[in-house]
Point group: C2
Chain length 758, copies 2
């Protein structure tokens, strides 16, 4: 655990520049607006260890994959979010000396990420080596969530001592590389620069051998400066800059307002980009920094009003939870159905890819409650649009139907390990569950009956081809899979995979029965197919152990040495940093919920006894070394009345990044697990479920807390749920009255209700 | 199938230059002397598709590995045999035009690899574009098996028409790269060149980050020319050359004798290399081309006398078999215990590494019979010398004892796939079996009792740590392995692995009982260890199926869809060129003997019924897509009296490379499977075994053949075994009389014996 920022309900703030943890500090102070984002780098640069990273949603490159021995079906490239134009760059020179906190004297340092408004603030007092000059620098920047193409930066320099010459060099710099490039290649080439105001720079991704479209990106900037004068503009390959300089007297302040517009070929054709970027940036400059900031702050307030969670009596938890919501909203707010929630968002490069099954399994359930339904629906549309890619993936394995990718930008798989690419196919189940989840939560069947069913049928066709029939057992089986527990692979009859496969077939058959004639004709599911699916449903093999009364994770799991985690010497943990892969694979230790993932997904299909027996068997073998693990276990522990266990598991997810629990946040934030704490509170502590189309709660209050409070958007209503020592209060903040279930009793909520806790 | 050379009992010969199969032709005409070797490249160069490759035994480079996601225990580098100094190079210019068969007119082409003498011969008549000049070129080269550092090349050019200026540029050229370099890096850097006669060139492998010693190599040359004059020497980085030129009249012949000596830092320190190389090359030149050739031819005759196999009535088989022996002897003849038999020998780059378990399992059994015992013993010493590396490999996985590597130069594992590196651990069994095999064959226990037992104990300690105890089953198990069938991996309780593990423990305990006190004290195997090993022997789990009466390949093998190979549409074959890896892994199809490998290794421990049941079950599921597969099956089929099956399987191995069955010989020869045909004949058709220390035969004669004949070196005797329609004849060619078993009857062989076949 490492904590770099003070506890504060709305802010990350510190008065320390952690030079040895600069990358970690940069990850935690990343900002984003769903369209673009960047790590908390310094405008003026930093000459010691740092990772400068700016990322644009949907702008990527197919990096030649790295693999030992090629085999048929392997993806040819590993798609990477690429480090893009550094547009925050403003070099600062004082009497010819570049200001650099890595080497210079400074005091009164302050760094703050304001989650309420989306603004990154920083200031410090800089002293020359001779101590004859002192300047107070102030930095403020944000990426507008109102005008997504716009970034605004304000830098002021107040001279406290001396009469220095100050030079500001504001640049757009596309000389950037990915740290994770497989072959240390550059992914950008120059197209055009212009110093004519507004100056602009256009860059293009380099050619590739995989038929992937190349992207062009244009940045344009307007720099407004007081107290010093424009001197010169310059441009070179992949860089354009404007310089401002002049002598500044004691007491005077230089202020630079830098406006940037970023336009990409995803939205604007190459020939229009320059015009568009210049128009946008001029409009922003005309509006002015303060007005942009006001609008942005209001927009964030609207988001928070729909989504905020308040925790009384635990400021750490409060900060952690808001940090997670802030991280997610900065990454994705559903405006563009071509986008998704990448594992690092705009905060780093690790893992590549835009999309993992995390989105469907862990992110969507939260967005359903904290934002408008369109936002969640767009996540489904994203997968629907990529159905062709999923069909391609199945074909690459010689299979029918659709196999959604583990990692992708386009729908085509680009993960580079066979045990994941070919085998972790339970992800297909998560795709279907998301459709079910959306439909069940919103009550809106239009998506599943018109678009969703395309995905359902394609995935069902995949399962029907991927199973095999074992004559000796008179059962269908699924061999050669990796379950959610990635600490094993190439296992046979993973319970979760088998269960999600038959559940998908059931859900698809149910949905087919509701289709319009036109849609049914379009899909052309034959009677033979239906019959085969029904046969698979009836004869699927599920490993089960009578003695233990549990579903078995896979065929030979119980043959392992089943020593529980608690008996392991703690110095072995985390296993993935201490054990060889061989030892991990053979161990019984579970990275994240596997059998329990089925029980979480298909919660209403299991008895309390089944839930308890499986939880009691598997949780003690679980090391929770995936950031996605503790939350699911917390939800189930809460359901089983194991409140202390639920709280313990919750605490592992709430401040994962803020306290750098996994010791890897320097690489970027764990964006796709940021919904975990929210799920633990809302589905866990508050026991929220949808039961026969009704919101249902069975809340408890963690002993450590005074109260907690969250918002739920549900079928045109906005509810506030408040759980305190003196009881549960529900308030209907928007929409018509509604029946809800409180501890299984139907209660009509018109205005507000209060009931004691049970 | 593709056949480039004529059928001939002792030669590969052709009058066609196969431009579209140049690489294949180069692989097949490779020559080597165990110390160095090279593909059948042309001295004068070739401007179209070719793979120029010269390789020096034990000279390698640790290439940075390529892997998707790093995990603990992965090897850091993949060791590569490196393409080394091209010392055959002799550029030929006629009136300024470089002679190049890729583009020029020529006739009367002839290419011949003479297996009896180890000489590569080539000639053609070259015509200028104007047809005004015609020259008859003749090339002869060999690598001396008498003076291992020496290569000799003779080139003659007889002018048939015109009065051309001929220029010969004889060079040592170290500007060479590996085609299989992971990051397209150059592995060599220049040290020194000198044009002072004898000219020399010293190169050194570039630095590496893995602490691997760098190699230096010095080549020195003497060029003796008639009919034209020396003109100039030149040198540049990594190249030294001597030019000879002059006008040549019709009827005159230019002859160049080029002698090269190659000395490396493996044998000679850097400061001595130049002196040594120059002395060696001068001595060779002094001896002269013809004398070197005579000596070399005699040495090959001695080898053939000990090892030849004659087949009457099947010239194709005859050629194939000699080609295999020739390929093996060119690669390894046991002079240097630091060397081993690499998968491509000196014929290509694929697979990297110097050593696979193939040596112990497939090569050693043949060398035991066809060469002196020291040659086989050196293969054991090689592994003994690398024991520290094997201990290191086990430690990397967090395990005790020794894990011999899948691929190595030093004993340290350098294969780059976890499912092989960590999992294909049955290879440890092959190491032990080789020691057993040597001891059993030679009757010499001195090796196992003094050196071999070190390996036995270290491997036993590995197995004892690698098994786990399953309480629920009261059995020891081995999870997470890859058996010899690499078309599955990460399986549990692979019969072969489990069996070889307990067999090793048994053999080690037996051996410990025979040790001297000193040796026993040195090894310090505790009573507790012995007890634990005994416990594992008694409680090891072996998957077995009562109904089928077979050992099951691994825990869930019988749950697969067990459709036999014969029912597969042939267009699916070979699977590894048509199916995705996913499909292969889930299929029941077996790449090479797995359960049957145990039955081959531990042949006397199984009943005839067990052998038959397992063969009948597994062979129909086997696709034999490893070059190592058919021979083992042929031996077992022969033992079971399935003569036609044995011959069919034999035919797949005998001309594997000559007829390019696997369509990949262009990459190099399958050196480590070259013993396969020999094994199929000697252990298969002739049924040779060692029974209680006696040679035993139960031969049959394939219907297609008139007779076959092979030599056996056994305990200071040289026997000739002749199997013909009219019976089995044994002749004792060297050594004292000996009792042998013929169809289980003891017969004393003093001079010769003849018995009818049964």
């Amino acid at each position: 655990m490492k904590r770099l920022f003070d506890i504060d309900p709305w802010k990350l703030k510190t008065t320390t520049l952690h030079k040895e943890d600069k990358r970690l500090q940069e990850s935690l102070t990343a900002i984003g607006n769903g369209y673009m984002g960047q790590r908390g780098n310094f405008e003026e640069g930093y000459s010691a260890d740092t990772h400068e990273g700016t990322y644009l949603a949907g702008i990527w490159y197919p990096d030649k994959t790295r693999v030992g021995w090629w085999k048929i079906g392997y993806p040819e490239y590993f798609g990477k979010v690429i480090n893009a134009m550094n547009f925050i760059k403003v070099g600062i020179e004082v009497d010819g000396h570049p200001v650099d906190l890595a080497t210079d004297n400074f005091s009164d340092f302050y760094l703050e990420s304001d989650m309420k408004t989306g603004v990154l603030n920083r200031h410090y007092t800089w002293k020359s080596a001779s101590e004859e000059i002192e300047i107070r620098f102030n930095f403020k920047r944000f990426l507008s969530i109102v005008d997504k193409e716009i970034a605004a930066i304000q830098i002021s320099a107040e001279v406290l001592k001396g009469n220095p010459a100050i030079k500001l060099t504001s640049a757009l710099d596309n000389n950037v590389q990915n740290e994770d490039a497989n072959y240390e290649e550059m992914f950008w080439e120059a197209v055009e620069t212009s110093v004519e105001k507004p100056a602009y720079l256009t860059a293009r991704t380099v050619p590739n051998n995989f038929g992937i479209d190349r992207f062009t990106v244009t940045g344009a900037m307007v720099n407004q400066v007081t107290a010093v004068n424009y001197t010169v503009s310059s441009s070179e390959s992949l860089l354009v800059a404007e310089e401002f300089s002049g002598k500044v007297a004691v007491g005077d302040t230089v202020t630079l307002n830098k406006y940037v517009a970023i336009v990409t070929s995803r939205d604007v054709g190459d020939s229009e980009q320059r015009v568009q970027a210049r128009q946008l940036v001029e409009a922003a400059a005309h509006k002015g920094f303060d007005q942009l900031l006001v609008e942005n702050t209001e927009a964030w307030a609207t988001r928070w009003n729909k989504a905020d969670v308040k925790i009384q009596g635990d400021d750490e938890a409060q900060q952690g939870l808001r940090f997670n919501l802030y991280g997610l909203f900065s990454t994705y707010y559903g405006e563009d159905s071509r986008l998704n929630v990448g594992p690092k968002g705009f905060t780093g490069e690790k893992y590549g890819g835009a999309t993992y099954w995390d989105t469907e399994a862990f992110i969507l359930p939260m967005y359903l409650s904290v934002a408008d339904p369109e936002i969640s629906r767009n996540l489904l549309v994203y997968r629907h649009n990529q159905l062709d890619g999923a069909v391609h993936n199945a074909q690459m394995q010689g299979l029918k139907g659709a196999l959604y990718p583990m990692v992708t930008f386009t729908g085509v798989e680009c993960h580079n390990e066979w045990e994941i690419t070919f085998e972790e196919i339970h992800r297909n189940g998560a795709m279907v569950h998301a459709i079910y989840n959306y439909t069940n939560y919103t009550g809106d069947e239009s998506y599943v009956l018109n678009e969703g069913v395309d995905v359902l049928v394609a995935i069902s066709r995949f399962w029907a081809d991927r199973v095999h029939y074992s004559k000796r057992n008179d059962r269908y089986m699924i061999h050669g899979v990796t379950g959610p527990n990635e600490y094993e692979n190439n296992i046979n009859n993973n319970y979760h995979t088998n269960r999600m496969a038959t559940w998908t077939l059931e859900y698809t058959l149910d949905t087919l029965a509701k289709l319009s004639h036109e849609k049914a004709a379009e899909l052309a599911v034959s009677d033979e197919e239906r019959q085969q699916w029904q046969d698979i449903i009836e004869k699927m093999y599920y490993p089960y152990d009578d003695e233990l009364g549990i579903f078995v994770q896979h065929d030979t799991f119980l043959d392992k040495d089943l020593t529980p985690v608690a008996e392991l010497d703690p110095e072995n943990r985390p296993l993935n940093q201490n054990w060889s892969w061989d030892k991990i694979l053979r161990s019984p230790y579970i990275k994240q919920a596997d059998v329990l993932q089925s029980i979480y997904f298909l919660n209403d299909r299991y008895t309390q006894e089944e839930k308890q027996a499986n939880f009691d068997f598997y949780e003690p073998l679980t090391v929770h070394e995936s950031s996605l693990s503790p939350s699911i276990h917390a939800v189930l522990a809460a359901e089983l009345g194991m409140e202390d266990k639920a709280v313990e598991l919750y605490s592992r997810t709430a401040r994962l990044d803020l306290d750098n629990y996994n010791n890897d946040t320097e690489d970027g934030l764990h964006i796709t697990s940021m919904s975990g704490a929210w799920l633990a509170i809302v589905q866990g502590f508050a026991g929220m479920r949808i039961v026969d189309g009704r919101l249902s709660f069975k809340p408890f209050l963690p002993k450590q807390w005074d109260s907690y409070d969250f918002k739920i958007n549900f079928r045109d209503r906005l509810l506030d749920v408040h759980v305190a020592k003196d009881g549960l209060s529900l308030s209907l903040e928007e929409g018509e009255s509604i029946d809800v279930l409180l501890w299984d009793d139907v209660v009509t909520l018109s205005d507000s209700i209060k009931q004691p806790l049970k």
